[in-house]
Symmetry: C2
Subunit: 217 residues, 2 copies
DNA sequence: CCGCAGGTCAACCTTTTGATTGATCCGCCC
DNA sequence: GGGCGGATCAATCAAAAGGTTGACCTGCGG
């Protein structure tokens, strides 16, 4: 059989070039195509399939530019028929990013500052259908599985979104046609679930966990 | 004369490889050395100088890993005798980051998602002793100087940053070794300049205007 | 049919935040 | 050397936010 064929997804030309350079150093790897965003990634995959060309692994940057992020891109790719495994390569090792990526169907999570050899191993693992986690990441997940239930209800997320725009309780109440008392009740629930005790912390944490989009993005 | 000699400073092997690949595509560029952190960068510069080897430009990543950041690295390099110009290459287009970098002596500020040709031009400008700003960045600075009445002082931006992490006034006071009264005074000024009347709005607006980084990024 | 979870609301109380006024100190520039 | 802006602090008051308790309604699943 030929080399292991990779699709690069990253909105930074610089990083794409770097990955390409690094990966092609290994003789058994080759870059099938590159894509700068979700749409391009899906397009490339279907295009390559139409040509009968194989893609063994998708290497995906989590944090892409405006209007685009790796999580939704991963989800989109995984929805395709016989989708290749997606290996996340990122700068960020926050618990939230990782969970979101795994939930979206990523089969590995590596950090960009990893040495080339580690990245190579991860790509091989992913291609073989196995899970590949950076040591740091693995440790983080371990500590997470024993944590309490923090799932917010849709309504609570909605509150949080309005909260992040800077609205007061009263303004939120008016916007949602509910009383201020109800807003407060929701907020108490939200704070409890997130483990914070004021709205700014809630916003910061929710943004970090990507429960809501960060203000200004 | 020979090619334009560049020192790469970035803690990600992937990005270094990418920059190297991209830069050496241009025949008049060559990579003199690479460094993963501030110490290594200074060491490389003195080593190369001892060998009589020229370095025309330092290409610096702003956001480096733990215990290290591009701003202090830039300052350290600029403190050397006849230091080469430092061109910042970063993911973040936040006002605070840019101002800090410029203050540290950077002579250019480019975003990583810029097309290769733009990066090339920036490197050339920097080497020629000129200032090179990404269009986005330039626009940001322009809009800032044209409305000086709303310009926040460095201290106020600092407050805003802490605010965005969810700290209470008291916590901010402790963090900055000032009284809560002073924190309140600063906040009143900030609110006035931004035209809002509560902290969450201030954060949302500041993030939107890229005065601070959005929480969670 | 009953329980349960999510959403709604109210009363009450404490803490935090925001607004106002006024003051001191320091570095800088003309 | 006088003014000016930035940073510091204090006292006080009003408004908003946060915490607690308890209650009602609804839809959904056992």
């Amino acid at each position: 059989m030929g080399t292991l064929r990779i699709l690069l997804v990253d909105d930074h030309p610089v990083v794409r070039a770097g990955l390409r350079a690094m990966l092609t150093e290994f003789e058994d790897f080759s870059v099938a195509a590159e894509a700068a965003d979700e749409d391009a990634a899906v397009r490339e995959l279907t295009r390559l399939r139409a040509l009968g060309e194989r893609v063994d692994v998708v290497l995906m940057d989590l944090q892409m530019g405006a209007g685009m992020d790796g999580v939704t891109a991963t989800a989109a790719i995984r929805k395709l028929d016989s989708a290749p495994p997606v290996l996340i390569l990122t700068t960020y090792d926050t618990e939230a990013d990782i969970l979101a990526a795994v939930e979206a169907g990523a089969s590995g999570y590596m950090l960009k500052d990893a040495p080339p050899e580690q990245i190579r191993q991860a790509v091989l693992s992913a291609a073989a259908g196995q899970t590949a986690l950076a040591p740091k990441v693995a440790a983080l997940l371990m500590s997470r599985i024993s944590s309490p239930e923090t799932a917010l209800t849709p309504r609570e997320v909605q509150l949080l979104e309005l909260l992040a725009t800077g609205l007061t309780n009263r303004a939120i109440a008016r916007q949602l046609f509910i009383s201020e008392a109800t807003v407060k009740t929701h907020l108490v629930h939200i704070f409890g679930k997130l483990g914070v005790d004021n709205r700014t912390s809630a916003i910061a944490l929710a943004a970090q966990r990507r429960i809501i989009r960060a203000p200004g993005t």
